[in-house]
Amino acid sequence: MPAPGDVVLERMVGFGRVLRAAGLEVGPGRLQDALRGLDVVGLARRDDVYHTLRATLVARREEMDAFDAAFAAYWEEAPGMPQPDVGIEVPRLEPSAPPPVPAHEPDGGGDESGEESTTVLAASPDERLRQRDFADMTVAELRRLRRLMERLPDTTPKRRSRRLRAGTSGDVLDARQTLRRAIRTQGLPFDPAFRRRKQVPRKLVFLCDVSGSMEPYARAIVMFLQAVTVTGRRVEAFAFGTRITRLTPHLKKLDPARALAGAGGLMPDWGGGTRIGDSLRRYNDVWGRRGLTRGAVVVIVSDGWERGDLTLLDAELARISRQAHRLVWVNPLKGHDGFAPLAGGMRIALRHADVFVEGHNLVALEALADVLSERSLVRAAGQGRPKMGSAPDRA
């Protein structure tokens, strides 16, 4: 029998491995903290050990479920000596886990209709692709679309920050600088320095409908979001169908295929029904309440086909619109001929949305980028807060 300390150490290293497999970031430093912690509280009580390991190895609320499962599996069921890789089923922590991409799939190939359509499209200019409805695109076309999206115009809405920066004129006297200058002039502040409020990016929140009717568009929107994220902009994105899932961690992956796979794997209801009101309520309760909506530009991408309760949708949209700087509704189906916003959900959406735009092709998304950056507002200056229809018309 080895010394008790060695057993603990060995078991802890194994536990660290299990946690890493579950998607937690557990480095040697954290393990060391955990061991020091165990030294303090001792091993006599299960709950003390649990809380000690949780406090030292978990860094965020989302990791707790994965941690709990791993803790139960590893310390309570795994018998005897460390067997970290044997037979412990731990649910992967979805948001930060790498997406399940088939290892053999090479870049740019391997999809069903890939080759055929590439040949056909080789002759067609990017311009045609820009105007092509996302719903009609093949996987290969979507991939080309991604490259076009890298050239999207700046989508950054701005607001005045409380943070100040130096300037020759401005809102607030910079006493420190003024004083330094005053020394040269016998203590008389002849040459005052100022600081002015900085312009900082506004929060941008995307809520994307990924239910059946929206599926072809959802993929393109995810790409759009990625293109925005890659430029360094902070975007919070959520996907919803019957329930809502945070999409943000997946957007950071540089490879669009991986992000798409990750996003798809994340949402069991990709292609299922829509409960917009329910999903928005969940968003409001969890993220909105913490202040994500406040002052943000909130973009909802949905066709408004609500299978749930319309009164709920009404109330939740009202909550968002009260807190958001602007609520933009993107409806890809709006671009289709003969579309009238008749879906029950859409009628309610019209009541709350500040701007209502289409989103069925790249031209429409470029227009959306314009709306988000509020360039269109500059053009429409003098008309106050834009309501429906202020979005640029379809090319």
Binding site: E25, G27, G29, R30, D33, R36, G37, D39, V40, V41, G42, A44, D47, D48, H51, T52, R54, A55, T56, V58, A59, R60, R61, M64, S161, R162, R163, L164, A175, R176, T178, L179, A182, I183, R184, Q186, G187, P189, R281, N284, D285, R289, R290, G291, L292, A315, R319
Partner: protein
Amino acid sequence: MAEPDSIDTLRAQLAEHAYLADRGLATVLTLALALEKPVLLEGEAGVGKTEAAKALALVTGGRLIRLQCYEGIDVAHALYDWNHARQLLYIRTLEAAEALEPTRTLHDLFGREFLEARPLLQAIEHDDAIPPVLLIDEIDRADDEFEAFLLELLSDFQVTIPEIGTVRAKHRPRVVLTSNRTRDLHDALKRRCLYHWIGHPDTDREVAIVRARVPGVPERLAVEAATFVASLRDLDLAKVPGVAETIDWIQALVALGQAELDAAVVDATLGTVLKHHEDIELVRDGRLPKLIAHAREA
């Protein structure tokens, strides 16, 4: 080092100062003291994150130094600033005495006596026998740049003031950070900290908390009100009331001379528990008698 009862001891000490921690929180605070690591407390509003830091200060006997974060907070607000009025006055005095020598004056002007220590510097250069408790409240409201600065500060507890030099903490302050999770904090900052999520307490503990916090509250009233609030938390509310709201409410009820809940008074004081018009409407809309009846059975 291992003291099997250190968690219980701390828990009892916190309770003496009317802070009733569950064992999980007590464990984390024990670890924070033993390992000298900062604690990051997260949880819904009103569950007692800030109070935990205050109670910790009372228990350790250290001074509480509080830094309330907000958007745009910068070094001048958090760390130090120069007392410009005094500096200006000093220049004018020298001038009047015809003793102004630009180089020397500049040197004097940026000496320690013209420096005003803000909370972070106070916590670092403290001279107390017992290390202070530094509460960095609502860190999620500050912006990224400030978080990065804080990260540096928390790793070595020293700051460099260009005009003066490096100030190093003789005894590291105990650090408690709180966050409402309005945004994700940087992983690097989290890795420096022990992490604990504070949830809503169960009814028994809430009754105990209320009785500790509102001396002289009739026991019956505490039980009924805590049960009432607990069932409110099961409703679909825009803002779920925390312990802070329960305490506010009970203080209001005590002030009104209530010994138990009754419909008229609950209706009149609902605004101390629920802070959204929709939530109040939802509860008033036919649910109130049932909720009160349920609370009175408790």
